[in-house]
């Protein structure tokens, strides 16, 4: 590390910091999927079908995630990206 880098480093987060933040999100998502109950994929599919009755969407526009906060409480998070109005 040179003298210049010492000053530069202060300004913006390093790429390693960015990498870590991205990984934390990806890994949390992956773990959410694999800890999900067996009915989860079917339920997700049905939710998509219901939305499709009203709006035309692709399945990758829907993210359904189950977050287990503790033993008593889990949160079902549903995110739908709707197409722009024509």
């Amino acid at each position: 590390m040179s003298l210049l880098d010492y000053f530069r480093a202060k300004k913006e987060p390093t790429t390693a910091v960015t990498a870590k933040e991205r990984l934390q999100i990806i890994v949390a998502h992956q773990r959410g999927e694999r800890d999900a109950p067996d009915y989860f994929p079917a339920m997700k599919q049905e939710i998509i079908e219901v939305i499709r009755k009203y709006v035309q969407i692709d399945s990758d526009q829907v993210s359904v995630q189950l977050d287990q906060n503790d033993d008593k409480l889990s949160v079902l998070e549903l995110n739908v990206t709707l197409p722009e109005k024509p």
Partner: protein
């Protein structure tokens, strides 16, 4: 009781074969009767790293198919006593491995050996699944880099759901992190994930940190597992990892930047 250890990663080229060869050799050097098994069917490489490629006659698939018995296929290491190699087939594909066949061969190896080290192929398909299915311990080989860490996490998911131990509700496979190709200098400049970062994300115990090292290429060029080169940083780091694997507690080395002179630090190198 024999222990089955899988060296696995998901991502390719992170150092599984290098690590399998080093760790198996290290265990044998400590006096444990050890066999290292190449599960990379069709892309045999372990024999080269172990330096026994010219002595391969029969392979793992031959044994599974009953075309040869174990003693015909096992290659005794010339350098290290207590060490044997079971090479992969060069001509078949991964479907030649069946759960039943692999189980039968591993069961037979368990009668003979204290440690059975399984060098997994990359990916999450049949070959990798077969390598991890019977494992007692998994050495999750990871580079400090985003795709490798993500794939390691996927492999952890497999170990927790698809292994024999998971399927049968036994005690879970023991998961250990081996961080390879680590460059303390690049960590210091913020270009590379640190040991602590990767530990925090994967949340499994750390078996060892192997530095990025020129000794690894030198070792593979000459077909000598890098752990034999005890002058080298990588060789020493693998020895430490083996010691930890057998229950010793040893401080991590090669995780911080070597001290540079004052001028070098100010003006860069």
């Amino acid at each position: 009781m024999a222990q089955i250890i899988v060296v696995t990663s998901g991502k390719g080229g992170v150092g599984k074969t290098t690590s399998s060869a080093a760790i198996a050799t290290g265990l044998a050097l400590k006096g444990h009767k050890t066999v290292v098994v190449d599960f990379d069917i069709g892309l045999r490489n372990l024999d080269l790293i172990m330096g026994c490629e010219r002595r391969v006659v029969y392979d793992f698939v031959n044994v599974i198919n009953g075309e040869a018995n174990l003693n015909q296929a096992l290659i005794k290491d010339k350098r290290t006593s207590n060490l044997f190699v079971l090479p992969a087939s060069q001509t078949r594909d991964k479907d030649a491995l069946t759960k039943e066949g692999v189980g039968r061969v591993l069961e037979e190896l368990k009668q003979e050996f204290e440690y059975i080290v399984c060098d997994s192929p990359a990916g999450i398909e049949t070959g990798a699944m077969m390598a991890l299915y019977y494992a007692d311990t998994a050495i999750v080989t990871t580079n400090p880099e985003v795709s490798s860490v993500r794939d390691s996490d996927r492999i952890l998911g497999m170990l927790q759901s698809k292994s024999k131990r998971a399927e049968e509700g036994l005690e879970p496979v023991k998961e250990l992190l081996l961080l390879t190709r680590y460059s303390p200098t690049r960590v210091a400049t913020g270009e590379m994930l640190s040991v602590a970062d990767v530990e925090e994300i994967l949340a499994i115990p750390l078996l060892g940190v192997i530095p990025e090292s020129q000794a690894v290429l030198k070792a593979s060029n000459s077909g000598v597992p890098v752990i034999i080169d005890q002058e080298s940083d990588a060789g020493k780091a693998y020895s430490d990892a083996v010691a930890r694997l057998t229950g010793e507690s040893i401080e991590m080395r090669f995780v911080t930047e070597e001290k540079k002179g004052f001028l070098k630090r100010i003006f860069g190198s």
